[in-house]
Every structure is written in C-alpha cells, then in structure tokens.
C-alpha cells in the first residue's frame, strides 16, 4: 500500500457517522434506530480510532488466477491456507480459505482459492437469529462468538460453503485463554460456534495486509479498498477499478445477488510458471499445530 499506515486506521466514529447521515437527510428518528438495526454501527465495535478523515475503508480481495498455481509448482501446500491457519490458530480440520482445483471448459484445470466472499448482501447475516453474524463498517462480515448459538442456519444459507463449525472444543494455543477475544480476532476458539474467514479484520485495522495476502509466494492476492479505488498484493499497487476491468474480473455465483467482495481474474497460474499439461494435485495444508506456531510468534499477531 502506498498509504501511510496511520491512514488505514482512519475511520469515523459512530457519532460522526450519525451526524453525516443526519446531514444527508436521514431523519433523526432513523438515525436513532440505526444502531439497533445495524449492529456494526454500535460502540461495541473496537474500531474506535478517531481521525479527522471520514473515509471508511471498504475492503475487497482480488485473486489473480494467472498467478495462482495452487502452490503445486513449488511443491508446497497452498501458502495462503497455511498462513491463515497460523495467523488465527484455525482449529484443526478447518480451512477458512480453501483452494479448489476447478475444471476449465477445455478439460484442463485451474486453481481457485475461496475465502469468505464478504458478501455485500450476505445471506448468512440475514438468517442469523441472534445477530451473531454482522457486518462492520468496512463491509467485513464478522461473527460474534460470544453471541452465536450454534444453530448453523448461516452455514445452510452461505452459497459458498465458506463457514465451518466447531463441532468440538478446538485446541487453542497455550495462553489463548488470556487473549482478549474480539470478533475481529476470534481467539480463543469456542465449541459450538461457527467460524469463517473475517478478512483479517484485526490486521487491516493495524494497517497490515491479511495473512493470506502476505503468505502468497506468487503475489496472486490483492487487498483492495473500494473507497480509495486502490489495491495491493504487497509488491505492486494498482488502481482497483482499472485492474478489475482491464483483466475481465468476475465474481463467484454473481447471479445469486450476494454481491461478493472477492474478485477473480481468470487464469491458470501461467504467470507463475504452471504447466497446464502437467497435472499436480493441491497438497494438504498443515494446521497451526503442525507448523508449530505459538501465540508469541510474530505471525500469531498479538
């Protein structure tokens, strides 16, 4: 990002936002009701950094599939998954970002990483009976694990199978009991609640790139901001809209009206030297235990 990291922290607080809404003609009554209707506007949000800027980031991810080769050419498991596992101490058996091998019309295949799509119209959010799934002001769909009752209605509703469930008490890293839980960084993990990718809300908040973006050795993943129309993979910075348009980006199951905030640029890993005639399956990713990370490690985040 060519941004000053400090800048990333800039966001309005609730009062400012309400004032803003008031000035654009929302009646005061509606403004009063809004915090109830939209939980992400409430003070519970840890995003309290106050700056003069009123800009609210609207995060998106872009996967450049011309670069993604499922990490098969380097003989590794997908590094985005492993980085994610280590970052969040993802419970064993779960993958918040998955890499699928997809069949292309010609009979060959390509690789498709699938995080949570951070839908703008998220079916998972609409069906949650207790408001445990909510959207923060940056358009990231989060789960409050202290609220989730474990009904799994959201899993039934998500058309991208992005959600996973803690069927048993997951193993947490030593010391995790003392970690401060927040929906942005849901450690420790809890039995009977639902989990998913939350676009590393805890990292973007601190001006860092999501773990998968940083972990990708091919620089295939971009974090973008719709507000500023910019995106970066940690190496290059591009103008988001132009990048998407000029490379014929698409979204998954666009016809469902979920308005995903994850974009794909078609390709089959050609820019990373993937030979389309050579078939190599995706290698299973290692869990955080297998990678031997602990809460004190720098990638452990906190």
């Amino acid at each position: 990002m060519n941004d000053d990291p400090q800048d990333l922290k800039q966001r309005v607080n609730r009062r400012q936002l309400l004032k803003l809404l008031g000035t654009v003609g929302v009646t005061p009554i509606a403004a009063r009701l809004l915090p109830d209707l939209l939980p992400h506007l409430s003070d519970a949000s840890p995003a309290q950094d106050k700056t003069e800027s009123r800009r609210i980031r609207q995060w998106v991810l872009v996967f450049d599939l011309r670069k993604c080769e499922g990490c098969v050419t380097i003989g590794e498991a997908p590094q985005c998954i492993e980085a994610c596992n280590a970052e969040h101490f993802v419970p064993k058996g779960q993958e918040w970002i998955k890499v699928f091998e997809m069949e292309s019309p010609g009979g060959h295949s390509f690789f498709l990483p699938r995080p949570c799509m951070q839908c703008e119209n998220p079916p998972c959010l609409n069906v949650c009976p207790v408001g445990a799934t909510y959207m923060n002001e940056e358009g990231v769909v989060l789960v409050n694990h202290e609220r989730c009752i474990g009904c799994r209605m959201c899993m039934a509703a998500c058309p991208y199978a992005a959600r996973v469930f803690n069927w048993e008490q997951p193993e947490n890293p030593p010391g995790a009991t003392f970690a401060t839980y927040s929906p942005e960084y849901p450690v420790p993990h809890r039995q009977g609640t639902v989990e998913k990718c939350m676009l590393c809300a805890h990292r973007t908040m601190d001006g860092k790139l999501p773990a998968c973006v940083e972990g990708c050795p091919m620089y295939a993943i971009y974090l973008g901001d719709l507000t500023e129309d910019i995106a970066t993979n940690g190496k290059d910075v591009v103008k988001l809209s132009l990048f998407l348009a000029s490379n014929s980006a698409y979204r998954l199951k666009e016809e469902l009206g979920t308005r995903p905030r994850v974009f794909y640029i078609p390709g089959h890993g050609q820019e990373s030297g993937h030979d389309i005639d050579e078939h190599r399956p995706v290698i299973p990713a290692r869990s955080w235990q297998e990678q031997g990370v602990s809460l004190d490690d720098p990638q452990g985040g906190h």
């Binding site: 779960q94 949650c128 445990a132 799994r152 209605m153 996973v164 069927w167 048993e168 009977g192």
Partner: protein
C-alpha cells in the same frame, strides 16, 4: 336405577369406559411405561454425552450440518398438525362424527409440538445460549419466525386442549370420588374451574372453543409454513422453492391424519373403545388421508418436474441422486410405500378395512419421515463448489436421541391417559342429545352423524 332410559344407560356406560383408565392400571401398562422410560433414559445419556463432547459425537460435519434432529423436528411438527388443525376443521364444519376423536387429536398436537420443538434445541451447538433468542432475537431470521409461531401454536393448542376438558374434569371429580387419591381429586376439582354445567357456563365454554377453533387454523398453517421457510429462505438446490410453504403444510396435515388414525387404533384396542371409535371413523379419516395423499403427490410431482425439466446444474445433481442415486431407496420407499400403497388401500373397497387402513397410516408416516430426511440431507450434501458429495451417517447418539423422541412421544401419551379422559364425554353426550330426539343411541353402533364428511359407502362397519 331401573327407570334409566336407554340414553342414560348409554351415557353411564360411556362414562365408565372412558374413566376406567384413570383409576385402573394394568400390569401391561407398567411394563410398557417402564420400557419407554428405558429408551428415554438412554436418549438422555446420549444427550449428556453430546453436551459434554460437543456435536462432534454426531454424524454431522461442516458439509451436512443438519441431520436426524432437524428431520425429526420437521416430522414431529408435521404430526402436530394432526390434531388441532383437524379437530378445528371438523368442529368448524360441524362434522358430528368428530366427537370421539377430537380429544386424541388435540393431545397429539400438544405432545408432538413439545417433542418437535425440543429437537432444534438438541441440535444447537450452544444450548446454554437459548435465552439469546429472546434477548437478541432478530426478526429477519426464519429461526425466530419458527420460535415465535411454534410458541404461539403450543400455547393455543394447550388452551384448545384444555377448554373442552373442563366439563370432563368436573365429571371425573364427581364420578371418581372415593375411587382415586384425594390429591388427584383435588386436582380435578381445581382444573374444572367450578364447572356446574349451567347454561351460562356452557354458553361461555362453547364461545371459547369456537374462538379457539377459528384462531388455531391460521396459526397451525403459519407454523408449518415457517418451518419450510427455514429451508426455502436459502439458495440451495432442492430448498430454493416457492411452493415449500404450502407443500409442507399439506405434508403436515397428511402425516397428521395418518398419526391420528394410528393413535386412534391403539387406544381403541387398549382401552376397549370399539363402541365409540368405529369403522366409520377410520373410513372417514382415511378419505381425508386419501385427499391429502393425492394433493401431496401432486405437489411432489409439480416440485420435481418444474425443477427437473430445466436441469439447472445443482437441481440436476440433486434429482439424479434422489431418483437413481444414493438417496433413491429413501425416495422411492416414500413414493411407493408412503403415497401409492396407502392410496391404493383406501381406494379399493376390499382393502378398506381397519387393520389395513392402520397399516397404510403407519406406512404414510414412515414415508413422510423418509421424505423429510431426503429434503434435509441431500441438499446439504450437494457440493456447492467442486467437491465430493458430503457424507452423513448418523451416530448412535443421534439414533438414541431420535428413538428417545419417539419413545417420549408415546410416554407422554401413556401418562396423559392416566390423567385425562381420552374421549370428550360431554361432547359425546351433547352429540347424542342433539342428534337423536326420539331414539336413544345404541352404543354398539356408530355415533350419529349429522354432516358426515363423505357419504357413507354402505360398506360393513366392521371388517
């Protein structure tokens, strides 16, 4: 006593027969109740195990996230429609033959709703957070709709069960003096709310029942509609349907009627109610069953043809698995065993006999359970992204809890028969008084009919 009219004699006999189970308990009853208790006990052990170790002890995993519990949920909520809705419809349409069966029907509703409502709770990952539904309930969620409508239905059907019980509690209070414990007698006295059969009381009771019977119909319909909406508010193949509401309501009434027929038969046998529950009751109810069988068949056909014809990818996958693939056994047992065979039994005059009708009803409910299973599971197992089909094999925990649900259903019923008269005595009497001005009923025959639902075919009353 020698001056008693035929009518009075008939009434006496009815009272004796109906009140007998309240005071006399056979050894078989204890054995039966004990075995049910054992099954329920095993289910409770299984649930404790699940609470301790998490839902990991079930066969559900990240792909197939719902299984037997949700299947049972839909099944029992379906059965619950038997009761109240049917008794409400029969009361509203003044079908006189309803009189001996309404009580059982209403009882089925209350019991099935309680068991059914428990199922999603057992399915929850965090049952300790149930109060959150009240605290944070979000009206946009189908689960909240379900919560509200099931709670309403349960309240309403409890009232609907209780109101017509008032005069019968008074009767029990009068007749059982000395024959039962004083605590129980006190309870009957209390529950009868000082019923003296005054004209004013009767008027009020009738009004109360009339209001409830009308109210209950939309409530019952709303319940199964929102149950279906848990599924059809998602975009999954097989669930993404506009007709799920009515489809489920019809299915619920269908399996509910079959439930009544089965329960009626059991009570008739055990408590010797042959004089009151006659072949006519089985016949009329099976005509109703046939009607709903055919409507359900029609809905099933309409649902699968309209999606199958277009062969959208997900629907295509799903339909293939249902019709010829891994779920085809379940599906065809449902179609043939749950719809076609029962319909044939009812249509053919020479199979329209009580035992066969009961067999048909049992088949209907086996079929309908399977149908609910193939609604819930395959749509979840269907790959949303290019993966294999999800696998779901229920574990002993789920099977034990499901068995406990069925045993619990039977158990509550069994216990209830020891507390409340299983036939509405005063309504029977009212029917006789109204129906016959000159001739006292001969109890050996069927109850009189003023407005039978379907014409009597003239077939023999007893097979």
């Amino acid at each position: 006593m020698d001056t008693l009219t035929d009518m009075q004699q008939a009434e006496r006999k009815l009272e004796v027969v109906v009140l007998r189970p309240l005071t006399q308990t056979s050894r078989r009853w204890y054995v039966w109740t004990a075995s049910l208790l054992v099954i329920v006990g095993i289910g409770i052990v299984a649930y404790i195990n699940q609470l301790a170790n998490g839902l990991a002890v079930t066969g559900m995993r990240d792909r197939v996230i719902w299984g037997l519990y949700i299947t049972n949920f839909v099944f029992f909520i379906g059965i619950s429609h038997a009761g109240t809705l049917i008794s409400a419809i029969l009361r509203t349409t003044h079908a006189e033959w309803r009189r001996p069966v309404t009580r059982m029907a209403e009882l089925i509703t209350v019991v099935a709703l309680s068991i059914g409502g428990l199922m999603p709770v057992i399915d929850l990952g965090r049952p300790d957070r149930i109060p959150f539904l009240l605290q944070y309930g979000k009206i946009s969620s189908p689960i909240v709709w379900d919560f509200i409508s099931i709670a309403t239905y349960l309240t309403a059907s409890l009232m609907y069960l209780y109101l017509p019980l008032i005069p019968d509690f008074a009767l029990a209070y009068d007749r059982l003096r000395g024959a039962t414990s004083s605590i129980r007698l006190k309870l009957y006295g209390l529950l009868s709310l000082g019923w003296l059969d005054l004209p004013e009381q009767r008027r009020r009771l009738t009004r109360g029942i009339n209001i409830m019977m009308i109210l209950i119909i939309p409530i019952a319909i709303s319940v199964h509609t929102v149950v279906s909406w848990i599924f059809s508010m998602t975009m999954r193949a097989g669930w993404n349907s506009t007709i799920f509401g009515p489809y489920f309501v019809v299915g619920a009434i269908f399996s509910g009627i079959a439930g009544i027929i089965t329960v009626m038969y059991v009570f008739r046998r055990i408590y010797h109610l042959e004089d009151y529950i006659t072949a006519k009751h089985f016949r009329y109810l099976s005509y109703l069953l046939l009607a709903f069988d055919l409507i359900y068949l029609y809905f099933t056909f309409a649902e699968y043809l309209t999606t199958g014809y277009k062969m959208e990818e997900g629907e295509n996958f799903l339909l293939r698995e249902l019709l010829v693939g891994q779920y085809s056994l379940f599906f065809w047992v449902f179609v043939v065993g749950g719809l076609l065979i029962p319909a044939t039994i009812i249509i053919l005059p020479w199979t329209r006999k009580i035992p066969l009708l009961v067999l048909g009803s049992i088949l209907v409910n086996i079929g309908m359970w399977l149908k609910r299973f193939v609604i819930v599971v395959p749509s979840l197992a269907l790959p949303l992204l290019p993966t294999e089909w999800g696998v779901y094999i229920p574990t002993w925990v789920e099977i034990a809890i499901s068995a406990a649900a069925f045993a619990g259903f039977a158990l509550i019923f069994t216990l209830a028969t020891k507390l409340i008269p299983i036939i509405s005595v005063w309504e029977m009497k009212e029917g006789w008084e109204r129906g016959l001005t000159a001739r006292a009923p001969e109890p050996a025959r069927s109850a009189p009919t003023l407005a039978p639902l379907a014409a009597d075919t003239g077939g023999a009353d007893e097979p």
